[in-house]
Amino acid sequence: MAAPDYSVLELCKNRAGYEAVPRLRLKLKLADVERDLQDAGFEPLANAGIVLVVRWEDVELSVFESGKLLFKTREMDKARVAMAAFKGAMGWA
């Protein structure tokens, strides 16, 4: 799969943190994503089939089937680091 183009991380207007949205909607298989992320050192927290929640360092990351990402941190630098780790784990770096 070619590396998708993500929009710039945007601040969610509350405590949750940042959202990244692929410019073209994806169809991710979250079971596969979970395996890839776990192999790369992400800590799996929950997989509801429609959303996968993992942790990278102290950032909680929600991955949606559409490819949308939600980073729970108030620090943009931490979100960027987690984003880079996510792309690396997915082979999109």
Binding site: C12, K13, N14, G49, V51, S62, S66, K68
Partner: protein, 404 residues
């Protein structure tokens, strides 16, 4: 007779598409009917000129349309054209008063405890001018505590009461006439933030007794970038200049300038003429619908959604009693993040809702609620959409709960 939402939807290009979303974020922005879009386009295609600065005919047409929009808006909301000032939105209208009111050191501004940041921060910023902002707490159920307002106003130091008319949190409508009477008894002026109220029901500013009333046309089926401050002649005359420059002056020399009277005094520089054309079309559209019908429709959808959501495990409704509210239904989640639900509602069901603090951080902080999902209804929403919101929310929360 109630609104025919199915017929109304045909006037909205976005809703006529095969993949039309279930749009439930009307408290932020309403969709635009074709007549509004065409009016905006017509300005750019036929008369893309300045108003009030040239003698050619097209320029005069633009000025006529701007003043027609002003008269229509004033008439629609029970104001007066000569004291209806165009701004870019309600936020700017409120800031106009905050900056231009002749404050004295020691003056107090009172607000409710559920103000949008736009009717909170401008008053907080006045501390540098010796003006104090205070919040009057609501009752435990979220309704206005008029006895607390009476007690606070009795101290005699309040210059302005600035209150939301209909809350963007939950559609709760404050008893504005009673609040106006209390403010005026105490010698204070009343500003109402009408950004939500003007979109969701009939408003008569004169009958309410508001000295200032702020609105945003983008919540009234109109274009973005147009708002207004409606004021009584006395209240607008009390305001000093805000932004100045072209179109605000009768005469200038190298040393001095003579300002025009309101509303021109406050409308500096080239204006949003395309927006005024679209606003005029939006007001005409809302008039045809009937604002009593718009209010009843929104309230019925809110109550239907709220009653359905009450039975969904993992959420709790937020806000004042349903009987006091309009077309907005917010709910907090027990174990899920509001943004997660909002993303899944879009991804799985094409339902567009708002999530987060809704520019009401102060209220969420004070009540220790970590954000909420908010659905807000417009005249084109249907009972099918309200029911879909309930069932989609139920399904997603069940899936999320199963993973814990």
């Amino acid at each position: 007779m109630g609104l025919n939402a199915e017929a109304i939807r045909k006037d909205f290009p976005l809703l006529s598409k095969p993949d039309a979303p279930v749009y439930l974020d009307n408290a932020c922005m309403t969709l635009k009917p074709r007549s509004v879009i065409e009016a905006v386009t017509r300005y750019y295609e036929e008369t893309p000129f300045c108003a009030g600065r040239a003698v050619y005919e097209g320029s005069l047409r633009v000025e006529e349309q701007m003043e027609a929009a002003r008269r229509a808006l004033a008439s629609f909301l029970g104001g007066r054209p000569e004291s209806t000032v165009f701004t870019k939105n309600a936020t700017e209208a409120i800031n106009l008063v905050a900056h231009a009111h002749p404050w004295k050191r020691g003056d107090v501004v009172l607000t409710t405890d559920r103000e949008h940041n736009s009717n909170l921060v401008p008053w907080q910023m006045l501390s540098s001018r010796g003006v104090r902002h205070e919040v009057v707490p609501s009752r435990g159920d979220g309704t206005l505590d008029l006895s607390a307002w009476r007690d606070r106003l009795a101290r005699g130091d309040v210059a302005l009461v600035a209150a939301v008319h209909v809350s963007n949190l939950d559609g709760h409508e404050v008893p504005a006439r009673e609040l106006a009477a209390l403010a005026h008894e105490a010698g204070a002026r009343l500003l109402l933030d009408g950004a939500q109220a003007a979109a969701h029901g009939p408003v008569d500013v004169a009958r309410l007794g508001a000295d200032y009333y702020a609105v945003s046309l983008h919540k009234m089926l109109g274009p973005t970038g147009v708002g207004a401050l409606l004021a009584t002649p006395d209240a607008v005359a009390a305001l000093g200049p805000f932004m100045t420059g072209g179109d605000t002056v009768a005469r200038t020399t190298y040393e001095d300038a003579v300002l025009l009277d309101a509303p021109a005094k406050f409308e500096a520089g080239l204006q949003n003429y395309a927006g005024f054309a679209g606003s005029l079309a939006a007001i005409e559209y809302l008039r045809r619908l009937g604002m009593e019908e718009v209010r009843a429709h929104g309230k019925a959808l809110m109550q239907r959604a709220a009653k359905g959501l009450e039975g969904v495990a993992g959420l709790r409704l937020v806000g004042a009693p349903l009987a006091t509210r309009g077309a907005i239904v917010p709910f907090a989640l027990e174990d899920a993040d509001p943004h997660t639900l909002a993303i899944l509602l879009e991804d799985k069901h094409r339902i567009l809702v708002r999530s987060g603090d809704h520019c009401l951080h102060s209220w969420f902080n004070a009540h220790d609620v970590p954000g909420a999902v908010r659905a807000s209804f417009g005249p084109y929403n249907t009972t099918v959409e309200a029911d879909l919101l309930v069932e989609a929310t139920r399904g997603i929360l069940e899936r999320l709960a199963s993973a814990r």
